[in-house]
């Protein structure tokens, strides 16, 4: 991306709430959510089902009306505009390709509704077919092409009118693993080539990490953390974010006192490390430290700066092996080690070993 001092804001939600009325009372799908998405950004809304991510997306598209708050597209309030007046297009989870129209007619649909001249429509359709590599399929009915191809057509159809923001509602969830990986790369390429702002909804944390410029992690109608993938993975704001993104070990710790630029904490009887003190963490209370499995190293029992542990299980995953451990404190962390070439090293289940990690790998957590 070009270095810009202050990229313009493409989409902004200000204190947006959505309340669904039901027979069992009101359901707060969104609770005063505020996000600001920069132009040209690949922004992901990530969270478990029911977290409100799809509601927010549908609200931006215009299919839900906010109960409170404002939605601004390039600074203009669009909260009360019907969907067909918003320069925002959606790639639907089910694709929703019109079954009575051909591939080319599907892609042309938006432009025709906008009343663009035929020559321009034809030109754009050709360009889009080329962009998603679907030229040979242009006259097929959408029922006659494969799932992956439907996905491409849905993308082309949504991109054809050149929207200010493209919304993608779990677009890859219907594809098998291999195709999904391909489309992830394809999507990044399309975003790069078109320069359009993408707002991507998914519950798949891996997808979010690999594709996004920034991620908003949501739960129960709240945004818990917004940040770049690395930031979210390495510095999760709280326990939910830590456990939702990647695999995580939670270890309890006690404070040994504030030190310059952070806090010294003790984990178990044998390990003492210095780490940052994030905002909102009470240094006097019970502390929790998060350590990712890949940062845990297995050592000899009794080596310096190690916790005593017993190996309870080893699970082979092909690329790596997961070691299930039991600490003296009764906690059960998991260590992950990449499998090296050659003969596997044998670690006996039930063996007494030591567990170590770099001080920088431990991060204090707000609950």
């Amino acid at each position: 991306m070009e270095a810009q001092s202050q990229p313009a804001v493409a989409m902004e939600a200000r204190g947006v709430s959505k309340i669904f009325r039901g027979p069992e009372g009101d359901f707060h799908a969104l609770d005063s959510v505020s996000v600001s998405i920069a132009e040209g950004e690949f922004f992901t809304l990530l969270g478990p089902s029911g977290c409100g991510k799809t509601t927010l997306l549908r609200m931006i598209a215009g299919f839900e009306h906010p109960s409170a708050g404002q939605l601004l597209l390039h600074g203009e309030d669009i909260s009360d505009l019907p969907p067909y007046r918003r320069q925002v297009n959606t790639v639907f989870q089910s694709y929703a390709l019109f079954p009575h129209l051909s591939v080319a007619e599907n892609i042309a649909f938006g432009l025709r509704m906008l009343g663009r001249p035929n020559a321009e429509v034809d030109q754009t359709v050709d360009r889009m077919l080329k962009l998603v590599k679907m030229e040979p399929m242009r006259n097929r009915l959408t029922s006659q092409i494969s799932g992956g191809q439907q996905q491409r057509v849905a993308l082309a159809r949504a991109l054809a009118p050149a929207p200010k923001v493209l919304l993608l509602d779990e677009p890859l969830s219907a594809l098998d693993l291999k195709l999904r990986k391909e489309m992830q790369i394809e999507l990044k390429r399309l975003q790069h080539e078109t320069g359009i702002t993408f707002i991507f909804v998914t519950h798949d944390q891996e997808e979010a990490l690999t594709m996004s410029d920034r991620i908003a992690v949501m739960r129960d109608g709240h945004v818990l953390q917004i940040g770049a993938p690395r930031e979210i993975y390495d510095q999760p704001a709280n326990r939910f974010v830590a456990s939702f993104i990647g695999e995580t070990n939670f270890l309890s710790a006690t404070s040994e006192g504030i030190v310059d630029g952070g806090i010294r904490i003790r984990i178990g009887d044998t390990v003492s490390v210095e780490t940052d003190l994030p905002d909102g963490v009470d240094p006097k209370g019970d502390l929790t430290v998060v350590v990712r499995p890949e940062h845990i190293v297995l050592r000899e029992r009794g080596a310096p700066d190690t916790l005593s542990a017993t190996l309870t299980n080893a699970v082979y995953f092909g690329t790596d092996t997961h070691y299930h451990l039991e600490l003296a404190s009764g906690q059960h962390p998991i260590a992950r080690r990449q499998n090296a070439a050659g003969a596997p090293e044998r670690v006996e289940i039930g063996a007494a070993i030591g567990v170590a990690f770099a001080p920088s790998a431990a991060r204090l957590l707000r609950d």
């Binding site: 009325r21 009306h65 109960s67």
Partner: protein, 306 residues
């Protein structure tokens, strides 16, 4: 943070109201037609049942319970003694008897037929079903007439029985209750097969396998597994056959001749030669209420099954 508990924004509320109004508007023309030419006139029938019959036909606009009175009772013209209206009772009894018999016979024939279709290979089923559907949509009068041809004295039934030497003289079937019964079974059979098939098509044959695995014989599997599982279809089919049987008009008129009337023909009589519109109206409302009661029973049952 202060949050109103059930806050729908005013925008949301108006949007919802506009949508609901639009849906009602879309349904309105159909509803107007149905109220005008189907449901509304039923209220007039109800009103007529409480009026006095006019000399020729129609009604005199004065309140009277005579219409309802005459449904089951007779007043002697000379001495005003009240007695049970025997003719009506015979007709009610015949209607009830023939409707129940029709339902039972169609079930006896329809159940194996529906089972047969449901156990055909998937691609063949629609063709068997089509064979059931053709008579279903064929004109009721044509089907009744077809049966009439078969069972009349010179019809193929009698002539083949005679040529086989089984009977010496033609059996008089036409213009008897039996003729009406045969006719109704014939015309309403598809109404039994179709819902039974719908239920059997969903039948999970792994459950039947489980039945056999647990030592059930064929009959026990039928009785203890299949019948309970397709019970909603049995009830739906029975109701679908019973209701039109009870209100049958064309079949008893054509096959029963003038004598073997059912309620439908009795009602017509009051608006024709009988010239007693209030009595006809009362009979109509009585029939309607009976049918509605059967429907309510059906709906209740349907809900209980879920």
């Amino acid at each position: 943070m202060v949050r109103p508990t059930s806050a729908l924004s005013s925008g949301e509320i108006t949007a919802r109201r506009t949508i609901v109004r639009r849906y009602w508007l879309l349904c309105l023309p159909a509803l107007v037609l149905l109220v005008f030419a189907a449901s509304g006139p039923l209220l007039i029938v109800l009103a007529y049942s409480f009026l006095e019959p006019a000399e020729y036909s129609g009604v005199v606009w004065s309140l009277s319970g005579e219409g309802w009175f005459k449904v089951i009772l007779n007043r002697d013209i000379f001495d005003d003694t009240i007695s049970l209206a025997d003719a009506h009772m015979t007709i009610f009894w015949r209607s009830a008897k023939l409707s129940v018999l029709t339902t039972l016979l169609t079930l006896a024939i329809g159940f194996p037929t529906a089972y047969f279709i449901a156990t055909r290979p998937k691609t063949h089923r629609q063709y068997w079903l089509f064979l059931i559907t053709i008579p279903f949509w064929t004109n009721l009068l044509i089907r009744t007439y077809a049966i009439m041809e078969v069972i009349r004295n010179e019809g193929i039934l009698n002539s083949s029985l005679m040529s086989l030497g089984l009977i010496g003289a033609p059996l008089q079937i036409l213009y008897t209750d039996t003729a009406v019964l045969i006719g109704m079974v014939y015309v309403y059979l598809p109404l039994m097969v179709l819902p039974l098939y719908a239920a059997m098509e969903r039948l999970d044959f792994r459950l039947v396998e489980a039945g056999y695995d647990l030592y059930a014989t064929r009959f026990q599997v039928l009785r203890r597994v299949i019948v309970p599982l397709v019970k909603p279809g049995i009830i739906a089919g029975s109701i679908l056959v019973f209701i039109p049987s009870l209100g049958a008009y064309v079949t008893p008129r054509v096959l029963g001749g003038g004598k073997n009337m059912m309620i439908g023909n009795l009602i017509e009589l009051q608006f024709g030669e009988g010239r007693n519109w209030p009595l006809g109206a009362a009979l109509s409302i009585g029939l309607l209420v009976t049918v509605m009661a059967a429907l309510v029973f059906y709906v209740r049952n349907e809900q209980a099954e879920r």
